[in-house]
């Protein structure tokens, strides 16, 4: 027997040795936890809103037809005069907004994003039970830096993308897309375990739930 | 039922009153109590301190003493010793025993009970006819709580005691810091845990702090004695064995001195 030459071979050989010394006990994975749950719309959105508010997100609900008005009002309330949007955000969403809109692209250096007052994006899928929004960097959500550097993130969530629990939500993801899970604004509990909202990510998260979209 | 009483080495030697109370209580409830005379120690201290070869004779002795199939249940006034029999004897037998020992251990393990488990689950009783007109707080010992999962059973037994003033112990499920040889090897950390436990115990204003393990009570009681606290420790069995006709008399301070030197 010759000694393994690379770290890779050595580690794999060590694992096989370990498994020979302590043979594995076969295991079947019990999956008795809840999956495939559905909830009626009102219950689902009530749950989601409760969880979002609990984690200090600002929540608005509206029919899809009111998207532009609601977004304009939110941006105005937060004093956002210059916002960034992902490349393929529905242009009709911002027709009522009178500030400056910068459409993002991969060649915009990240420090420039720091000069934006906020960002408006769509979202991929949302888990009601935990109040978690999943962004998957699709063209209506943009690259990850866009929703990270600005201090205000206004995120549009459509009813059709809201799932009850974590398993239902994970099942709808495209695994290899860069994915960000967002549950409220950034937070830390590092000082005496007292929760402080707003550290490095956007300190304000506004969620606009479109109840009929 | 024909019940084999395991006194535990600590109970037999240092806390015989708790074992007496257990024996009397079981007999009074109509059980046929037998005391296999060759019994000694379950070997828990050895296993918990890292020694598994040395207690093989103890594990074997236990299995032999209580292996008699006419003994329907083995009962002991200790959650940690019951835990040792049920969870550790198998480990020792598997590693250092022979086939006969493994079989013996397996047979005895399934009929071994801590006192409150036996009373509630096997004998199906919560009211044992006890009378104890004192303020009592209950400390659920770790092995009763998390190894045996006795849950509310001791409390159900205590709530049924006539005239008892049962008060809840804050942070009851926190360990008292005993842990066998832990209290010797890590005496200072153990003492810090004990200090918090004593603060909660004395804060209840109870006359008596009770539990299902003489070992933990020795620890808590040893601390309470050192700080001259007004609360004393008493095994659960002694409360349950106290009746109107044969009440347990709480000694006052003078009596306590006499009792201790008796």
């Amino acid at each position: 027997m010759t000694a393994p030459t690379t770290a890779r071979e050595a580690i794999l050989a060590r694992i096989r040795d370990a498994q020979a010394l302590a043979p594995a006990e076969e295991v079947t994975i019990p999956r008795a936890y809840r999956t495939g749950r559905t909830l009626p719309t009102d219950e689902l959105l009530e749950l989601l809103t409760d969880r979002l508010v609990d984690y200090k997100a600002e929540v608005h609900a509206c029919p899809a037809a009111d998207t532009a008005q609601v977004l304009a009002a939110v941006l105005r309330d937060h004093g956002a005069r210059r916002i960034g949007v992902p490349p393929s955000l529905d242009p009709s969403w911002l027709t009522a907004y009178d500030g400056e809109v910068r459409r993002d692209s991969a060649d915009v250096p990240a420090p420039e994003l720091d000069a934006l007052d906020g960002v408006v994006t769509a979202s991929a899928v949302t888990c009601a039970e935990t109040g978690t929004i999943f962004l998957d960097a699709s063209p209506d959500q943009g690259r990850r830096a866009l929703t990270l550097v600005p201090d205000l993130h206004v995120c549009v969530v459509d009813r059709s993308t809201v799932e009850a629990g974590v398993p239902e939500t994970v099942a709808r993801l495209a695994p290899t897309r860069p994915t960000t899970l967002i549950s409220g604004p950034s937070a830390t509990s590092d000082i005496e375990l007292e929760r402080v909202e707003g550290v490095h990510g956007p300190r304000t998260l506004v969620v606009v739930i479109r109840t009929d979209a | 039922m024909r019940v084999g009483l395991f006194a535990t080495c600590l109970g037999d030697t240092l806390f015989p009153d708790a074992v007496k109370a257990t024996a009397v209580l079981l007999a009074r409830l109509g059980h046929d109590v037998v005391f296999p005379p060759g019994q000694t120690c379950c070997g828990q201290m050895h296993v918990n301190t890292g020694y598994q070869r040395e207690p093989v004779p103890l594990v074997r002795g236990f299995a032999e003493q209580f292996g008699d199939p006419s003994i329907e249940a083995v009962v002991m006034p200790s959650g940690s010793c019951a835990g040792s029999v049920r969870h550790q004897h198998g480990i020792v037998a598997e590693r250092y025993g022979d086939a006969a020992l493994r079989a013996g251990v397996a047979a005895v393990r399934t009929k071994t009970y801590e006192l409150s488990e036996f009373l509630v689950d096997v004998a199906g009783t919560t009211d044992v006819g006890a009378y104890f007109p004192h303020r009592v707080t209950y400390h659920p010992t770790c092995h009763s709580l998390r190894m045996l999962r006795v849950g509310e059973k001791p409390l159900r037994l205590l709530r049924a005691v006539e005239a008892i003033d049962l008060v809840e112990l804050p942070e009851a499920d926190a360990c008292c810091g005993f842990g066998g040889t832990f209290a010797v090897k890590n005496a200072e950390t153990s003492a810090a845990m004990l200090a918090d436990k004593m603060r909660h115990v004395t804060g209840t204003g109870a006359d008596v702090c009770t539990a299902g393990d003489s070992s933990c009570l020795m620890h808590i009681g040893g601390g309470l004695s050192r700080i001259e606290a007004g609360t004393r420790t008493l095994h659960l069995a002694q409360i349950l064995a106290s009746t109107r006709t044969h009440p347990y008399v709480l000694p006052d301070d003078t009596d306590q001195l006499e009792a201790a030197t008796r």
Binding site: A18, R34, P175, I191 | D32, T189, L257
Partner: protein
């Protein structure tokens, strides 16, 4: 049972030629898996730190309540724990193939995979990769693996400055301190201490900075933002690596993780080989278990997932370093390998009464608390010949079991502690303690000798004062007797009482009461044939005052 499961045939089932050898531990003297003194000695000092005790007590109690609230609200919590435990066990069973699959998927997605046998090799790999970028600084996401191998110290020796970006890690780094908790590394610091550290160590910080946590967090935000936007290399750990897809994941709260994983050109992730999960869908279990066990939240604020390199989004150079450093040694232990299932939630620390008093530093390792007490000795060993401080870790527990109840993947930490104690005593061979244990077992193994010893223990009464209390004991029991009295052994053992006239009389009276009680019960129950009670009644008469003392006092 088929014969092929027999031990003799087991090696033949592998493709490996020759006898399997036990994989090496993390080399002695490297990394941060060993303190410089044993637990009781270290705890001695920590226990005297009143500030630490207050900080820890408050923090652990707060987080316990939060965890119980959010785990209690899931009706399927136990089912999730069962699934999580089984998935990790399955992962360990299939580790080689899963690692190869992960490597293939990451490579396919544009990443580069490196393998490191130990901490030193991992440190060299990371250093070389940083040097290749030309940068002399890196930003870091809180990572247990890089803490374990002492990466920051190694980078510093090579002239590379590592900026910790997690708030607590920043506090620890600025104070030249060591982390004391897996999740909240600065748990031992209170807000006033943190304000002092920031005022002294952050360049240009407002000298009037107060100790309001929100203001302290804002100061850290301002300080680190420039680093995030300008540093070209980041180093991270990983919470999960998905074999099926090559996806890596970091679970965090502050957004510093997202910053590091997104903004630099180059990302280097150091991941222990046990962090792997077979399938992407397994995240449905762990994304529920981890945050609820860890911070006591339904979900942590941010989780990032990435697969290799995505053109136009995030780092365009991605390196994954797979770290062994003693993990395969743990895997070779049938019982101990459970510790590899750990997902670093730190729930066991937060519920541990020993951790609560002694704090994380007393363990001397990157991994403190109950999981540290079982993981550290397995990764780095308990070298008996050098009186290894790690050999004291398995004893730093009362075996109270709170950790096992809290563990989201059901690692039976008390059983592992007992197992490691056994391994330690076996390795230590003949010691004074072992001789004492042997002697005790010899006495207790022979009932006659045992009874004689019980009588002799009555001699302990000589140690007692007139009040029947023993207040001083000789070493090694002096630590016990410093704060606890011990009752003098009573004159009469239980068995002697039972054999005595008084005992027999008492038991007869009790049995009589029992018979009367049964008669009443039987009458109430009516004629149901021969009941268990009736049997007991017969037996009680013959046994309680029969056998009991026949064999006694022979």
């Amino acid at each position: 049972m088929s014969p092929r499961t027999s031990q003799a045939d087991a090696p033949a089932r592998t493709t490996y030629l020759g006898m399997p050898t036990v994989p090496p531990r993390s080399p002695y003297g490297t990394g941060n898996l060993r303190g410089d003194r044993k637990f009781p000695r270290a705890a001695h000092d920590e226990l005297r730190n009143d500030q630490l005790r207050r900080n820890l007590g408050k923090a652990t109690h707060t987080i316990r309540a939060k965890r119980l609230a959010v785990t209690g609200e899931l009706p399927d919590w136990e089912a999730l724990r069962d699934a999580g435990s089984a998935i990790k066990t399955d992962t360990m069973n299939r580790l080689p193939e899963l690692l190869e699959q992960l490597e293939a998927k990451v490579t396919e997605a544009g990443g580069t995979v490196h393998w490191a046998r130990d901490g030193a090799e991992a440190n060299d790999i990371v250093t070389r990769l940083v040097q290749q970028t030309g940068s002399d600084e890196v930003i870091k996401v809180k990572s247990m693996a890089t803490q374990e191998i002492g990466l920051n110290e190694h980078l510093a020796e090579q002239g590379i400055k590592a900026h910790e970006t997690d708030l607590a890690e920043l506090i620890v780094q600025l104070a030249d301190d060591k982390p004391s908790h897996i999740l909240v590394p600065a748990i031992h610091r209170n807000r006033d201490e943190i304000r002092e550290i920031f005022r002294d160590r952050i360049p240009g910080v407002d000298p009037d900075l107060d100790s309001v946590p929100a203001h302290l967090a804002a100061a850290a935000r301002a300080y680190l933002r420039e680093k995030f936007l300008t540093t070209p290399v980041a180093v991270s750990g990983a919470n999960f690596g998905i074999a099926e897809t090559g996806t890596l994941s970091v679970v965090e709260s502050e957004g510093n993780g997202r910053m590091c994983l997104t903004l630099p050109d180059t990302l280097i992730t150091v991941m222990g080989i046990e962090k792997i999960l077979p399938r992407f869908a397994d995240l449905e279990v762990f994304l529920q278990l981890l945050p609820r066990s860890s911070t006591g939240e339904r979900m942590n604020p941010y989780t990032s997932m990435w697969t290799g390199v995505t053109p136009g989004d995030g780092p365009q150079n991605f390196h994954l370093v797979l770290l062994d450093n003693g993990r395969t040694a743990a895997l070779a232990d049938k019982i101990g390998r459970q510790a590899l299932n750990c997902i670093r939630c730190s729930a066991c620390l937060n519920v541990c009464p020993v951790y609560e008093r002694a704090g994380g530093h007393a363990y001397g390792s990157t991994y403190p608390g109950p999981i540290g007490a079982v993981l550290t000795p397995q990764l780095a060993g308990m070298d008996v010949s050098s009186d290894d401080p790690n050999s004291s870790l398995p004893y730093a527990s009362t075996l109270c079991g709170a950790c096992y109840d809290a563990c989201p993947v059901k690692i039976d930490i008390p059983s592992l502690l007992v197992e490691l104690r056994h391994q330690h005593t076996e390795a230590a061979g003949t010691t004074a303690e072992q001789l004492a244990m042997k002697a005790a077992a010899a006495v207790m193994g022979r009932p006659g000798v045992y009874r004689a010893a019980q009588k002799a223990s009555g001699l302990g009464r000589a140690l007692a004062g007139r009040d029947g209390r023993i207040s001083h004991l000789p070493p090694p029991f002096n630590g016990w007797s410093d704060t606890r009295d011990t009752p003098a052994p009573p004159k009469q053992t239980f068995r002697a009482w039972l054999a005595s006239e008084e005992g027999a009389k008492t038991m007869r009276a009790a049995a009589k009461e029992g018979r009367e009680a049964l008669r009443t019960t039987t009458a109430e129950e009516g004629a149901r044939g021969r009941s268990a009670g009736a049997h007991a009644e017969d037996a009680a008469g013959s046994r309680a005052d029969g056998d009991v003392h026949d064999e006694e006092e022979q």
